[in-house]
């Protein structure tokens, strides 16, 4: 198992980890697995891809889960939180301590953290709040102020409400049925919280419609926003090209980029939310698309001998397969927020 990617960063590892515990946490399950290599490399926002169903499983595709927490005990453990909603996650929920689980991770790009001690608002929907607590810890280490805004359909689906109240400077909870906190959805409260907490930067993880809304509102308040997206993934490691979404690069060009390796964390405004699930006509390589340089012969992709566009300087080592120059998440769109 290799741990260096071409970046020189510590890349992911694949481990057969022993399950320590599987606990019920309200509507969810929390699973802790011994996975030293993953724990040591983890940065908040990254995820694991887990093989489900055992060695002869008929379920071939890995399941992706945000890493909730890592701990140093047993050489290093990883915890993720999941909703047992389909055959793979139900199988996971049935595991017991000492069972063995094949886990690959840590995968994807982490949340970039600001250099300065700014005021951060962490917005989570459902199990989407799971990765926010490790992020909060890291932000506090940097002297940042951390406020939480968490929501879900019902109180038992707001993951980590207690922890948020205990550790956040403020914690605002919303539920659609009003069973916990204010009745409504997180975006109903976003403006008020931003105002009261004097938020400088927003981090969000949750369902795609929520992330879209949060991005729209952040733009209204002129705040940088980092979102962790959830797209259907088959491999989680960047080889299958199933998890793409339209993302605008620093050069202004839209590319279909893999959310597993170029994400899951993106600057909210980079994502073309209205075009998710489509190939925008102006995306690099879309039918009929031609590079601006006009060096191509006319007549569509069949005759095209394209040279411009797809490549360019500054590729991260992981950006292959048509992804290209997406800004690294270490550079949120505002001065003062570095790596």
């Amino acid at each position: 198992m290799r741990a260096q990617d071409a970046d020189g960063d510590a890349g992911p590892v694949q481990v057969r980890g022993t399950v320590l515990t599987v606990r019920r946490v309200d509507a969810y399950h929390a699973m802790t697995v011994v996975a030293p290599g993953i724990a040591a490399r983890f940065r908040p926002g990254q995820f694991v891809a887990v093989a489900v169903g055992g060695p002869d499983s008929a379920m071939l595709l890995r399941r992706a889960f945000s890493i909730h927490d890592v701990r140093p005990d047993h050489g290093g453990t990883v915890e993720f939180v999941f909703s047992a909603s389909g055959p793979g996650t139900r199988w996971l929920a049935g595991l017991r301590s000492r069972d063995v689980l094949d886990v690959a991770g840590p995968l994807g790009r982490p949340f970039p953290v600001p250099r300065d001690p700014v005021s951060c608002l962490l917005v989570g929907g459902g199990y989407g709040s799971a990765p926010l607590f490790a992020l909060a810890g890291k932000l506090r280490d940097r002297g940042c102020k951390v406020d939480f805004l968490l929501g879900a359909a019902s109180g038992d689906r707001v993951f980590g409400a207690l922890t948020a109240r205990r550790t956040g400077r403020t914690a605002t909870i919303t539920t659609e049925d009003g069973s916990l906190g204010a009745r409504g959805v997180v975006t109903d409260m976003l403006g008020q919280v931003i105002h009261e907490a004097r938020t400088d930067v927003i981090y969000a993880c949750g369902p795609m419609p929520m992330l879209r809304q949060v991005t729209l509102l952040a733009r209204r308040y002129d705040l940088p926003v980092q979102v962790a997206v959830e797209e259907a993934m088959a491999c989680g490691i960047g080889v299958c090209m199933t998890c793409v979404l339209p993302v605008v690069g620093t050069d202004g060009m839209t590319r279909m980029v893999r959310s597993c390796v170029d994400g899951p964390v993106f600057r909210g405004e980079q994502i073309r939310w209205d075009d998710v699930g489509t190939i925008p006509f102006d995306a690099v390589g879309a039918p009929g698309w031609e590079p601006r340089s006009g060096r191509l012969p006319r007549g569509g992709q069949a005759a095209a001998g394209g040279r411009a566009g797809a490549t360019g300087p500054g590729h991260g080592a992981r950006e292959s397969g048509g992804s290209g120059q997406q800004a690294r998440p270490g550079s949120p769109g505002r001065p003062g927020h570095g790596h």
Binding site: C235, G238, T242, A302, S320
Partner: protein, 321 residues
Amino acid sequence: MGTDMRTRLGHVELPNPILTASGCAGAGRELAQFIDVSKIGAVVTKSVMLAPRAGRPTPRMAETPSGMLNSIGLQGPGIDAFLQRDLPWLLSRGARAVVSIAGGTVEEFAELASRLSDAAGVTAIEVNISCPNVEHRGQVFACDPVAAAAVIEAVRGRARYDIPVFAKLSPDVTDIVAVARACVAAGADGLSMINTLLGMAIDCDTMRPVLAGVAGGLSGPAIRPVAVRCVWQVREALPDVPIIGMGGVRTGKDALELILAGAGLVAVGTTIFHDPSACERILRELDEELARRGIDRLSDVVGLAHEPRTATGRRLARNVP
């Protein structure tokens, strides 16, 4: 490794028969985080086209029993980026690169072959003819022996003489042997099979197709018996033509099954999504499977299942120490 695993890709010798299947390992870079890409027979890269290509809309995949459907639509960076970035990287890692090419016209395939011939370090070209022919109402090249042969002839004509050209066949045909014969007659040095089978899934809640592309390619262990049958039929008809077998290989024993059917090389596809280190594992398992049967040379068992039972018995017995 005890067994002599060397095998031939046309006239090129490879240290062992395990390859990645096109489209299931990118250009090797991501996989190199989990395996040593120089240790497997070769990396077969994602089919590359002339121009960058955005592919199909999402959802692009659906999990099915022991398999998956995909409709990626050949998303890729185009040949220039591939030659600038991906191929040099693979070579720098000491990997052997089999480059898969795809096109919408015969001329696009030919142009790709000539571009690859100008580059150093291409071990072989695999021609993905399971693409719609834009000049022929979108009919898939691989489904028509005449169109398939036209592509192969053009590629063979433009590829450097010392680069083997493999034609990748689709199982979605009535007579795969006819397409195989046509490709070999047109100059193919070998044949790869099988590409995915066309399938479809419908979401019973939304009551609509799961894939944005409606239909998609079925792969994984679910299709392995089809792959075994195709390799068998083609080997039976063309015993001297090298075959890269693929379709649902998950273990060393699965690889052995395709080898016995007639494949001298075996590619691993969908299983990589399940287990990113699968290629190294399958290579190890294949070695063990052969050793357990007292076989010390892989080449002794390629196509062995075609021999009458008695002869097989005798031949195996000879190898038992």
